[in-house]
């Protein structure tokens, strides 16, 4: 029982990050119908920017949040404006492959710059915990969750209150109507993609506190982000949040799996990707439109 509660807490803490990961991915997918395979690469870049700032200038990771957001936003904006836009009217396959190629490029450039060594960000508070009712809660993860919730909240407000935010939502509902209302759709697309990248960067920064870093780290998060979107539905902040937390909890429970079949030992922690896949398959078979709707074409 006590173990379950610990898992629950761990799950929620991890889920916050997943929500941010999924949010960026979901916006681009829901509004532009682009599955951005470079999302993982963007996450990785955000993490490494944080690491670099931390290692070279001793900047606290939380302070580098704005930096990773801005850098990735600009990168995303430029990529969309000058590369993806070039094949905007091509079949979806084309854009899909393009983001794949970009992902390869970015990851490998990162490999050149930072080499394949695994790194970490260890701050003064990295190791400290507090205990509540027998459950250990690391401070770093609490801060991360708080940051994630704040970011999610800010995004929600912005999308619903600001002029650009409303323009974005209008575009996602009906491009034609939005255009007639004076929205510059091309500009919106570039902003949305930039936003997706920026959010990925932010997620990367948050991830750097709890996970180890290497250029290939983005891939699993891409998959999880996808699964969370399927779980929580597209284009909605609430969906990403609910989906992310739900997934985090499932993953935490799954990591408890510690079976021995015959001489075969199976441990849940090594099988994280398999867990993601299984969850995905189950959800798709049971409810093809995702738990909160709108996941399939």
């Amino acid at each position: 029982m006590h173990l379950l509660a610990q898992d629950l807490v761990n799950g929620i803490l991890a889920g916050g990050i997943l929500a941010v990961v999924a949010l960026g991915f979901s916006l681009v997918w829901g509004i532009m119908n682009i599955i951005n395979l470079a999302h993982g690469a963007f996450i990785m870049l955000g993490a490494f920017i944080t690491w670099q700032l931390f290692t070279s200038f001793h900047v606290d990771p939380f302070l580098s949040l704005p930096v990773s957001f801005v850098v990735l936003f600009v990168l995303g904006y430029l990529i969309q404006r000058y590369l993806i836009n070039w094949v905007a009217r091509a079949p979806v396959l084309t854009t899909f492959l393009l983001t794949f190629g970009l992902s390869l490029l970015i990851v490998n450039i990162a490999l050149l710059i930072w080499t394949g060594d695994t790194r970490g960000v260890t701050t003064a508070y990295s190791g400290s915990n507090f205990t509540v009712a027998g459950i250990t809660v690391p401070w770093a993860k609490v801060y991360t969750l708080a940051a994630a919730l704040v970011i999610t909240g800010v995004m929600y407000m912005w999308l619903h209150r600001s002029k650009t935010g409303r323009a974005i939502r209008a575009t996602s509902m009906d491009i034609g109507a939005a255009q007639l209302a004076g929205v510059r759709v091309a500009q919106i697309f570039a902003i949305v993609y930039g936003l997706g990248a920026g959010l990925a960067g932010v997620a990367g920064t948050l991830i750097s506190l709890s996970y180890s870093l290497n250029p290939a780290m983005g891939q699993p998060f891409l998959i999880k982000g996808f699964v969370v979107c399927v779980l929580g539905g597209l284009g909605s902040v609430e969906g990403a949040l609910v989906g992310g937390l739900a997934y985090g909890i499932v993953e935490a429970f799954a990591s408890q799996i510690d079976l021995t079949i015959g001489t075969q030992h199976i441990s849940g922690t090594g099988l994280q990707d398999a867990v993601a896949l299984v969850v995905l398959l189950i959800v798709l078979m049971v409810r093809p439109t995702g738990i909160m709707g709108r996941a399939t074409a």
Partner: protein, 328 residues
């Protein structure tokens, strides 16, 4: 001659005829490698495996339009089929390939059933997830030898060429299958699904059924390539069987050469292998970087692939015009 060819559908979804004949010619030349260039046997054997993989991917990704990032799973499973057979003392290439084909086609059909109901790129990410998941699982299970890997029995040095010819046969088989599919009703079903899945349904094509068929064929080819590769390599472990390269290269090769054509994967495979070899010795780390750049450039500038370019009339101007076609 050309009207006759046109009447049987050649030149339509089969792709450029010139490129096709050149490719076939080169394939025949490749038969000579063990005798003429024995030192390069291993290299060309690997290239032939890539050719087969590219053709496998072309069926599901090129013709049906469903990008799969999971085909390396089939390759990997194929290698393990050979390894497991070897562990049980069965050292027959036909058995290897046979088992690999059956296992992978079945696996594709089973996994494909829920996953292929998704459309387009949803499928793509699901395959990526499958790839990562299977890599995890295999790495963790002992019957697969865990991370230590398994040894695969081989024939003696003198008869090594047999593995080359086996690889050649698999590649040739892949080309033949693609050719037959492209000319048959099946090929048209695939293309119809790629062009407009809903319109295809209206015309009587059950998309899920044909997508599963396409993926099963694709899987069988990749599996066969894997089995042969395992025998030729003598050793199998998760890092080899599920190497990123086997996932990415075939895709890049097919895109470069031309998706949805019969000659495309071959052309792409040869060119990229050639470049890879030349670069590989001087710039070891730049493989994937290079391939990433190739993908981006090809997608932006040459989305229909090189084979299209070969058949193009009107030269540079038509090409430039085609670039404008997709702009927003």
């Amino acid at each position: 001659m050309s009207t006759a060819l046109r009447k049987i559908g050649l030149g339509g979804i089969t792709g450029n005829r010139t490129a096709l004949f050149i490719s076939l010619g080169l394939m025949v030349l490749l038969l000579l490698v063990p005798t003429v260039l024995p030192g390069y046997q291993t290299l060309f054997r690997t290239i032939l495996c890539f050719v087969a993989l590219a053709y496998g991917w072309n069926i599901i990704g090129g013709y049906t339009g469903y990008v799969s990032f999971g085909n390396m799973v089939f390759f990997g499973l194929g290698t393990y089929c050979a390894a497991l057979l070897s562990a049980r003392g069965i050292d027959n290439l036909f058995a290897d390939v046979g088992l690999a084909v059956v296992v992978n086609a079945a696996f594709a059909a089973v996994v494909g059933f829920p996953v292929l109901r998704l459309k387009g790129h949803y499928f793509g990410i699901a395959t990526l997830g499958t790839a990562l998941a299977v890599t995890d699982i295999v790495g963790n299970l002992d019957i697969f030898g865990g991370t230590g890997g398994l040894k695969v029995t081989q024939v003696d040095e003198a008869h090594f060429a047999i593995y080359y010819y086996a690889a050649w046969l698999v590649a040739a088989g892949a080309i033949a299958v693609t050719f037959l599919v492209a000319r048959s009703k099946l090929g048209y079903a695939f293309v119809a699904i790629r062009e407009n899945e809903d319109a295809a349904a209206v015309l009587g094509i059950s998309a899920t059924k044909y997508k599963i068929i396409a993926w099963a064929i694709s899987a069988a080819i990749a599996g066969a390539a894997g089995a042969v590769y395992a025998r030729g390599n003598g050793f199998v472990d998760p890092s080899i069987a599920f190497a990123e390269d086997f996932n990415v290269y075939p895709i890049v090769m097919t895109i470069l050469g031309g998706t949805g054509t019969v000659a495309g994967p071959f052309v792409g495979a040869l060119i990229l292998s050639g470049v890879n070899e030349t670069l590989g010795h001087t710039f070891l780390k730049l493989h994937s970087l290079f391939f990433g750049a190739v993908i981006v450039l090809v997608v932006l500038l040459l989305p229909r692939g090189l084979v299209w370019l070969i058949g193009l009339r009107g030269g540079v101007r038509t090409w430039i015009k085609s670039l404008q076609a997709y702009k927003a």
